[in-house]
Amino acid sequence: MRAPDSPTEQPLLELDNLRVNFHTATGIVRAVRGLSFTLGRERLGIVGESGSGKSMTGRAILDLIPHPGEVQADKLVYRGQNLLTMDKGSRRKLRGRHISMVMQDPKFSLNPVKTVGEQIAEAYRVHHKASSREAKERSLTMLEAVQIREPARVYDLYPHEVSGGMGQRVMIAMMLIAEPDILIADEPTSALDVTVQLQVLKILDDLVTSRGMGLIFISHDLHLVQSFCDRVIVMYGGKAMETLPAAELADESARAHRHPYTLGLLDCLPDLDHRKDKLATLKRDPAWLA
């Protein structure tokens, strides 16, 4: 584990009272309802079930909320720059260059008619003035960094020719080539097999650590978040139930301090070591959303 950020360092991202609303035919759907956190150079996990607003939080930071949705916040600051008052163009430039996102399924995020190498090189040239040769060299280095064994061969492959695990590495290479300060990973390994999943996480971990990035790791998998992240926000119904050091999730002795929702989530997982006839089920309390 790394030492926590020194308090004097400016946080990468500050978020206060974030709200995401969707105006639909049948009323307003409130996807995120007042979420606040700050992100330093750390691995911050956001866990929650579907509909908890965890994905919408990541998208809201990047200004990627789809049409009928609107984002409101009291504060949304990236390294001293107020994102709320920033115009669309500057916001777009920030995206990819300073804040990047890796999505769940590489199949839907890669352009099927371009080789993966071209796409990585393009991602680099969008944000940096570079010759195509230079961009290609950087891309090959990046492919190597995500532990692809024959970068030159993979560079010329089309997305359908690479496996799920390799596709996700390509996505990570593409997102990290611009050397962003913040990487938002939305379920980056959920579509992958467990063994491949760990390889991809290791690459992500190494890159984040060596480059001092801030990582927001969005996942439904408590075990994974607990073993991978430094700090965890547990979300339910668009609200943060609690924020805690990841290590405490596994700490049996700290149970008394846990939010009942967090405990409920932990308890309903089948466990190899404590086999029981019946799994505990989660009792939701409306008061949590009050």
Binding site: A25, I28, R30, G237
Partner: protein, 301 residues
């Protein structure tokens, strides 16, 4: 988490817990209507189509004159308070003829759709679901029909069958079904591999039961949309046949034939050809807008 208030019928319709099949279906239709209503273009299209239906239904009340009554002393009068759209070369009131013409147009459209939709749907769904040689034979037949331009093929049929409204309908129907079969087959190829189809197979359902009760309902929306969008084309083909003198025969007030009759006077008495032309334009546009709106509502799964 939705916040809203509603009461009475609306509440009954959009309830999450309907108590009968009927309420569930009506509720679904009502939701679709709510979505449809949000698209202004679609509502305009629907309005045009409804007006067409009303015009056809109440033609005797709307038309000030008999559409067939000739008055040779009133030939080729320009639009006026007496003859709103003017009169044609036989002194017939063009407004009355346009109004009665909506009946002819509707009859053509409905007959074509009634024959074409089910044929295309069944052929396409059967070919797509059964696959193998059934698919090959049916699709090659479809390809043969698709290989000819629609109007040319229709012309050939009418030439063989003889001119007339019924034969025009038959000819258009013969040429219109292949695209429907193609669409239905393409949809079926996707649907047949879905888990819900596997699930009915696992219940021991026969192939025909699966096609008719499980595949067809899924193809239906896109075919309805397609046929609505296609109506404009059907109207134009019918008008084209009428224009060429192969569709409805005089003195039936058919819009295409009316344009054809007016083409000799197009520069001197513009109204003779213009008003039936406008009617075709407006109705074709109406069906197109309606089709677009329906696509947004019905194809959204």
């Amino acid at each position: 988490m939705t916040e809203q208030t509603s009461s009475g019928w609306t509440a009954w319709l959009i309830t999450d817990s309907p108590v009968s099949r009927r309420q569930a279906r009506l509720g679904q239709y009502y939701r679709q209507w709510l979505a449809f209503r949000r698209n202004p273009a679609a509502v305009i299209g629907l309005t045009i189509v409804v007006l067409l239906l009303l015009a056809a239904a109440f033609a005797p009340l709307l038309a000030p004159y008999d559409p067939l009554a000739q008055a040779l002393d009133k030939r080729l009068l320009p639009p006026s308070a007496i003859n709103w759209f003017g009169t044609d070369s036989l002194g017939r009131d063009i407004f009355s003829r346009v109004v009665y013409g909506s009946r002819v147009t509707l009859v053509i459209v409905l007959l074509v759709v009634i024959t074409v939709g089910p044929i295309g749907l069944l052929i396409g769904a059967a070919a797509g679901y059964l696959g193998g040689w059934v698919d090959r034979v049916l699709m090659r037949i479809t390809d043969v029909f698709l290989a000819f331009p629609r109007l040319v093929l229709a012309l050939a049929f009418v030439a063989a069958l003889g001119p007339g409204l019924e034969n025009a309908v038959i000819a258009i129907a013969f040429t219109a079904w292949p695209p429907y079969a193609r669409v239905a087959r393409a949809e079926t190829l996707i649907i047949r591999n879905q888990d819900y189809i596997s699930a009915v197979r696992l219940q021991g359902a026969s192939q025909w039961r699966i096609v008719l009760r499980h595949v067809v309902p899924m193809c239906l929306p896109s075919l309805i949309v397609r046929s609505t969008l296609d109506m404009a084309g059907i109207i134009l083909t019918a008008a084209g046949l009428g224009f060429l003198g192969l569709g409805a025969q005089p003195p039936i007030p058919e819009w295409g034939a009316m344009i054809s009759a007016g083409r000799e006077q197009i520069f001197d008495q513009w109204w003779v050809a213009t008003f039936p032309g406008l009617a075709i334009c407006v109705v074709a546009l109406g069906f197109n807008l309606l089709g677009d709106g329906l696509r947004d509502v019905m194809d959204a799964r």
